[in-house]
Point group: C2
Chain length 341, copies 2
DNA sequence: GCCTTTTATGGTAGCGCTGTCATAAATCTT
DNA sequence: AAGATTTATGACAGCGCTACCATAAAAGGC
């Protein structure tokens, strides 16, 4: 007689079989009630629901996933959690997933495609219903997995390229370009740029290139740039601007890769007594709430991060199967004129 | 003869059995190699590893979880993602989990215990190895699940209470109290408080109470308070301070529930030409980077969010079994004197 | 009333992996 | 050298659920 093998589980952990027995139905019927799937008589459903409540039954998703070869997990791979940008995206995703059975599993790649690949593979072990990641640039191995997997894929933030399945975001190259055009039109001529050390932030690079090409079209070029030897932060922007101005006091505008750093730039100006806008224009990117609450609202570009996350998750839920057509959704961006450039 | 039932899975999805066959070993041996568990001869390990690489084998975690009645998932329930505080905590958790097999599954409760309960139950369906949540206050049902589950539990942020298993955080009541003591010692007497509308933010309430009791000890009390009718934001702080001062121009210090709102307060002062610190003290909570990068660094309390997340996850990994003793880890807090109070 | 369709339910066989026990070979004791 | 221990491997059942098929009863069509 085979020995019972439940030494490793709680003795009082009810299974579907227990529910079915108590309700006087078969397991499969109880399963249908739990999954709200297939035709069930109202009276039967009520009995099963009562049994579930009585036993405190919690379905075992591992068993469900195994049997159905699919899960309700959605893998989310984000480059960073250090500023509010990706939490905003995650919030959008989470909002779309509320009231659905799907749950986000998150991983942080540190802007490193190899880490992204490693985390992706470990996530695939859960047979996720969908994978969400940032950008269109992945390792060849990652790309292969994404293309051949039995799950939907959304690539967020960026739309300058060929997506695997769905891309939701904006053109960062264009954002950079429009930044340049806007500032030139406002009379700025001597441009500085303050970057940070994350060289794999493809979106920041695209904006930089867009800016440069706008300058070039106008017969201008960057007068100076400085790369802060650390990750992006307000402090980084403040210090970077100080260094830039020390070497090039004649700059009349400085563009920052994001609002955090741009705020730091403004703080430097306040500290050094430099008249922002009149003496030196400051331009950011993201349109963070805090920059707009300043007495002198930051001139910047509003990226629609929450919308990107929410739209992507909603699109993914529309169909379980990957359609023949790739989808690109441009959420666009708004120039916020502000008062600093 | 039973029909093959693989219509629902990719034909080219290799299983452990395929790996074992190719390596010329049994399934269980291949399994041991994958899990790095039990004694394996070097030559055998090499053969299995080769087979895995050749086939591009990805383990099926659903099957693994089912068979072993446990998963490598760690459920993380956070109240909000709207400011950087909880992403910081999440970053700490993620840092501790890197290089381990564990993966965080996140849920957002919106500071609502009922939503927390609902998400908790749906997470338990994955038989997580651990559950991380914020605060010590949960619904009775949630608490029951947490107490009886076969997983570790960490309650973050707050330590004023009885944890289920591990609590990591600081005393918010004490933080509020110290804030009051500090400001009184600096000569402030006419206190204002600007709150936001999230009444279920227990930590903010505890700080408020602590502040009040410090005032009371000194024979003082809050002169005025204003509740901004929306969630916390920089804009909320700015507007709330304007309203407070309109009604009570004689306040000499205003305490905010967090740095975001305090920054808004400073922005109002800048806009209205009020000399911060001399004319009106401003005090926040959290010690955000941006507040410290201002020309006039924000006076605030540094909460150690990253450390809390990291410490909690590390503690959870120490032992799979819940120990008899409950653990409380006080990560403390630092008063940042700053230049605004 | 006979046939088709729809509705409601159940039997059975796995999904891919790991716990448990068993076994054989290698190494260590005394 | 005989026994005790450690190391390396395998057979097998079953984790809890759902896909697949089958069946029976009820409803609809002409």
């Amino acid at each position: 007689m085979p020995r019972k093998r439940n030494a490793h589980r709680s003795p009082d952990m009810p299974t579907l079989a227990d529910v079915a027995r108590l309700a006087g139905v078969s397991e499969i019927t109880a399963s249908r009630v739990v999954r709200v799937q297939g035709p069930i008589a109202d009276s039967t459903r009520a009995r099963v629901l009562t049994a579930i409540a009585e036993l405190g039954y919690i379905p075992n998703r591992a068993a469900g996933s195994l049997a159905s070869a699919g899960s309700t997990l959605m893998s989310v791979l984000l480059p960073s959690l250090s500023n509010i940008v990706f939490p905003d995206v995650l919030r959008g995703i989470h909002t779309a997933l509320t009231e659905t059975a799907f749950q986000p599993v998150i991983g942080v790649t540190d802007y490193d495609p190899l880490i992204e690949e490693r985390i992706l593979v470990s996530f695939l072990a859960w047979q996720p219903a969908a994978v969400i990641l940032a950008g269109l640039h992945h390792t060849p191995t990652a790309r292969r997995h994404l293309e051949h997997g039995r799950f939907r894929v959304a690539e967020l933030m960026d739309i300058d390229g060929e997506p695997v399945d769905i891309a939701v975001g904006m053109s960062h190259r264009q954002a950079g370009y429009e930044t340049g055009k806007h500032l030139i039109q406002r009379g700025y001529r001597r441009f500085g740029y303050a970057r940070h050390n994350v060289t794999t932030d493809d979106r920041a690079s695209a904006r930089y290139e867009g800016l440069c090409s706008a300058l070039q079209e106008a017969g201008l070029s960057l007068v100076a740039e400085h790369c802060y030897p650390d990750a992006s932060s307000t402090r980084a922007g403040r210090d970077a601007l100080a260094i830039l101005l020390a070497a090039h006091p004649d700059l009349d505008v400085v563009v920052f890769p994001n609002d955090d750093m741009a705020m730091g730039g403004i703080f430097h100006c306040m500290h050094a007594g430099i008249a922002v806008k009149e003496k030196l224009g400051i331009f950011g990117f993201n349109g963070l709430d805090i920059g707009q609450a300043m007495p002198m609202p930051l001139s910047t570009i509003l990226s629609k991060r929450f919308l990107i996350g929410k739209t992507a998750a909603e699109k993914l839920l529309e169909s379980r199967e990957r359609p023949a057509e790739k989808t690109i959704i441009n959420t666009g961006f708004d120039i916020i004129e502000g008062a600093t450039a």
